[in-house]
Subunit: 299 residues, 4 copies
Amino acid sequence: MNDVHASQPSGPPIPLASVGVARVRKPLRVRRPGRTVTLSAEFDVMVDLPASRKGSDLSRNAELLAEVVDQTSSRPASSLEDVCTSIARQLLARHPSARTSTVQSSAEYFRRRGLRPGARSFEDYRILASARAVRRGRRIETARGIGAEAVGMTACPCAMETCRRALQAEFPALRDPRLAAMPIVTHNQRNRTRLVIELTQDGAVEVDDLIELIEDAQSSPTYAILKRGDEGRVVLDAHRSPRFVEDVVRGVLGRVVQRFPQLPDDAIATVESISEESIHKYDVRASARVRLGRLRAGR
Amino acid sequence: MNDVHASQPSGPPIPLASVGVARVRKPLRVRRPGRTVTLSAEFDVMVDLPASRKGSDLSRNAELLAEVVDQTSSRPASSLEDVCTSIARQLLARHPSARTSTVQSSAEYFRRRGLRPGARSFEDYRILASARAVRRGRRIETARGIGAEAVGMTACPCAMETCRRALQAEFPALRDPRLAAMPIVTHNQRNRTRLVIELTQDGAVEVDDLIELIEDAQSSPTYAILKRGDEGRVVLDAHRSPRFVEDVVRGVLGRVVQRFPQLPDDAIATVESISEESIHKYDVRASARVRLGRLRAGR
Amino acid sequence: MNDVHASQPSGPPIPLASVGVARVRKPLRVRRPGRTVTLSAEFDVMVDLPASRKGSDLSRNAELLAEVVDQTSSRPASSLEDVCTSIARQLLARHPSARTSTVQSSAEYFRRRGLRPGARSFEDYRILASARAVRRGRRIETARGIGAEAVGMTACPCAMETCRRALQAEFPALRDPRLAAMPIVTHNQRNRTRLVIELTQDGAVEVDDLIELIEDAQSSPTYAILKRGDEGRVVLDAHRSPRFVEDVVRGVLGRVVQRFPQLPDDAIATVESISEESIHKYDVRASARVRLGRLRAGR
Amino acid sequence: MNDVHASQPSGPPIPLASVGVARVRKPLRVRRPGRTVTLSAEFDVMVDLPASRKGSDLSRNAELLAEVVDQTSSRPASSLEDVCTSIARQLLARHPSARTSTVQSSAEYFRRRGLRPGARSFEDYRILASARAVRRGRRIETARGIGAEAVGMTACPCAMETCRRALQAEFPALRDPRLAAMPIVTHNQRNRTRLVIELTQDGAVEVDDLIELIEDAQSSPTYAILKRGDEGRVVLDAHRSPRFVEDVVRGVLGRVVQRFPQLPDDAIATVESISEESIHKYDVRASARVRLGRLRAGR
C-alpha cells in the first residue's frame, strides 16, 4: 500500500519542529509517598518531522501512550515525569526519521490536608510534567520538567499601608502603639502559582515538596473546610504575611534553593504567580526563569 | 432535488424542542445613551421541529441572523434584546413548520467609568439577551429577557466578626469604643453577579441601569485604574459594606423593585451571584428567581 | 458568639432558591462492573434559604461532601448518583431551616475499548449526576438524574446527497447502478451528545449503557488508536450511517425505550446533541426532553 | 508616604523577567482597508523588575493602556500591533527602573465574506499582536509580532487512500478510469491555524493577507451561510485538496515567502495548525518556527 505519510511533502520541504497528538486524556496510576493515586492526565505527544517526509505516522504516538498508560494499571508509575520521559525515549524508536521528541502532561492532583487535624479533606492541585528526548548518534539524551500549581491567597501589602494611613486619620485611636502590629484591612484574593524545575538529566523532585513550597510563599494556603474560627485564622495569617506576586515568585525561588540542595547548578526554576485581583476585573502576574547556580550565587 | 430535511425522520417520530445554530459570533452595532457601540456578540438561534420532519433547514437561521446583523451596520439596533426579538419573530416566517423559536445572545460590553473623574477608563461587563416567539394561529406572541453581568467585590461579614473577636483578644486596645466602627480584616474577593429581567411583552429596560444596580448591591465595584489612595478607598468601601452572596442577591432584587416601578407584576427577575472565594479553591453561589409582583407584595 | 448567618437578612426578606458551594473538586472511588475507578469529580452542593435568615452556613456543605468522599476511600460508592443522593439527603439534616437541597456533579470517566481487540485503549467520557431532596413533614423525598456525555462522529446526510448529484454530473460513470450503495463524500465532524435520565425515585441506570446507546446513535464512535485500515473502516461506517443532530437525538430516545423497559413512565429523558460542524465555524445543536411514557406511546 | 513597591524585596534579590497586568479587556478602534472596526481586545502589559525593588507600580500599566485605548475613540489606530508597540515604548518611560517591556494582545476580528456574492456575511477570526521594547542606553529598540488565527477545514489525504482501496474492493466499478479523479470519502474536520510574523523593526503586514493565506493553505475555508448547493461545493473543494496539518503548516510558510517579498530575511514566521479530528476525541497538531531567509534559501 502506498504510504502517504512517507511521500514527498507538498509545500516547501522544510523540517517541522513538532507534529503529534494533543490534548489526549488518560487515566494514570502513580505512586505517591505511602499511597497509589489515579490521575486524570492530559498529554501532548510530539516528534519533529524531517524535510523529506510529507507526514508523521501519529497512530504510533497514540499506541505508545496507550501502552505506557496500560502498564500503570498493574505497575503504577513512579511519577508523571517518569512516564513522560519513558514515552519521549520510546517515541524516537518508533519514529526512525525523528530526531527529537517532546511530551507535555498535566494532571489534577488531590492531597488530603487541612488547617487542623479535625478538618482535613482533599484539596486540588495540578502536577505539570514534561520530557524531551534528542537523538545523538546511537545515544538518546533526555531532559525533563517537574512542576506543580497551587491556588492559595495573597493579601496586598501596599493597600494595607494606604488603608492604615486612611484609618489612622479617621480613627486616631488606631495610632495607639499597642495596635502597631495589628493586621489592617487590604484587598486579598486567589493566587495561582506554578513552579517548574527543569533538569538536563534524570533526577527526582517530589511534587508534594513543590506544592508545600508554593503554599508557604503565598500569604496563606486555602482550605476546603473552614469552620468559623478557622476562617478567621486563615484571614489573619494572610494579613500577617501580605505579599505581592513579585514576593511570591521570589519567595518560591528562595525556598527552592533551601529545599533542594542536591539539585545541580544547571537546573532551571520557572515560577509564575497570578493574582486574581479582588479590586480589579483583570489579573496581575509576575514570572521569572532562573538557573539554580545563579540563585545560589545570590545572582 | 430530494429534500432530505423534509423526509421522514429516522428514529421515533417525536417533536424536538429545539434545533438550530449555536455559538455563532457576529459584530453588532447598538445604540446606547449618547453613543453607538459595536458589540462582539454570540448567538444561539433555534426553532422547534415537528414529529413529521427529519431535519430543520438551518441555513435559514444563519441567513436571517446575517441579514439582521448587516442592517445594524447602517441602522444600529436599539438593543441586543430587540435584535433577538426581531430574529425570533422572523424565524417563524422562514420555518413554516415551526411553532416556537428562541434566540439567546450574550455580548461583551464596555462602559467608561472610574472612581474619580480623573481616573476613568473602560470597564468590561456582559449584556445578556434572549427572545422567544410562539405561533398562536396567525398571531405571534413574543417574550424576552434582558440582563447583565458585572464583576465587583464582596467582603465577608462573618469572617469580619470572627476576626474582630480574635483581634480584640490579642489587642485589647482594639476594644476602645472609638474604634467600634473601624473596618476589620476579612476575606474579600471577586464577585460575579447576573441579573435577567423576563418580560412577557415588549418593554424596555436599560442595561446600564441593571449594571449599576448590581454594582450597588456588591460590597464595592471594581476599577481598571486605581492609584494608591484609590485602592485604599475601594478596600475601605468594601469593608464598610461586607456582604454574603445571599445579601447581594436580595440587594439586587430590592433595587429592581425600586428602580423599575413601571415593570408589570408578571415580569420575572432572576439573579445569580458567584463569589470566587479567596479563602477557598471553590466558589460560593446564591440564586433566586422571583415575579416582581411577589417582590412588591413583600412576598 | 453572634451568629451572623442567622441574623436578619439585609435586603428584602425573600427566600432564596439555592445557596451553596460550587465547582468543588474531589476524588471519588466508584464501583463499575468488574472494577473500581477513581473519578475526578466536580460538585455543586446547594440548599434553599428561608426568608428569615441572612445566610446559609456553607461550611456544613463542604464538611458533608468531604465526609462522603472520604468514605469512598475505604468503601467505594456504587455510583456518582448514589453519592449525590446521599449528600442531598444528609444536607437537609444539617440545615434544619432548609426545605430543599440539590447536588450536581460531573466527572471524567475512562472506558477501555477499541475498534478491534488488538487496538484497545482508554477513551474519555463524562458521567453526569444530580440529586434533589425535599422535606415533606418528617419525610424526605428524593429525585435523581443519571447521565453521560460521549464524543463521536456524524456525517451529514444532506450534503452527501448534494455531493452525489454534483459528482454524477461531473463523473457520469458514477451513475453506474453498481455504485448506488457506495458512500459518497460529505462533511463529517465531532459530535458531542448528552443523555440524562431523571427518576423520581431511587433506581439504577448503568452509565456504561447510556454511553453505548449514545455511540450507537451517532454515525460512528471515535477511537484513540486507529491504524490505517481502521481509519478507513471508521470513515466508511460513518458515511454508511449519515445522521443529522436531529437523528442522533431521536435515535438516542428510541434506544432508551428499547434498552430500559424497566424504567417507569414518569422517568424523563433529556438529550442534547452538538455537532462541531466542519464546514462552519459555529455549532449545530438539537435537544429534546420527554417522559418515557410518552415515548412508549409513540407520543 | 512610604513607597512599598520601592522598598527592599522580600525573598532573594533577583530580577524578575516580567511583572504586569494580564487579561485586561478593552474596546479598540482600528482602521482596516476601507473601514474602521471596533475590536474587543485583551492585553497583557508587562515590564521587568530589577533585583533592588520589591514591586512594580502596575497602576501605571493600567493608566497607560487606558490612555492609548481612549485616543483610538477619536483617532483610530492603524493596527493592533501599532498599539502594542506604542504601549511597549511608553512603558519604559513610565517605569524608569525597567529595562524591557512586553505587550501581548489578541482580539476577535470579523470579516465580511462568503462563497458567493449573494451569500456573504461576517466570519470570525482572531488578530494576534505583540511588541517588545528594550532600553539600550538612551535609545529604545522595539520588535513586534503580527498574526492571525483562522478556522477552516481539512480533509485527510491518508484515510482517503485507505477508503479508495476498500471501496474499490467492495465496488469494483469504482476502478473505472473515468472515476480516477473523483473525490473519495475521508474524515474532515475543523482546522485552527495560527500564523505570526515577528519583525525586529517597524514594518507593516496586513492581517487580512495573513488570514487569506491561512485559508488558502487549508483544504477549504468555512462559511457562516451555505445553501445546499454551497455545502456540496465546500465539501468537494475540501476533498479535492486533502491535507495533513503538516501540509497546512508548510503551505502557509510557502505562501508567506511568495506574498511578502518585501519582508527582511531576519523576520521569523511561526505557524501552528490544529486539527480537531473527527475520528478521534483528541487533536492533532503541527508547528514550525522559521526565519524567512532560511525559507527563501529553500532551507
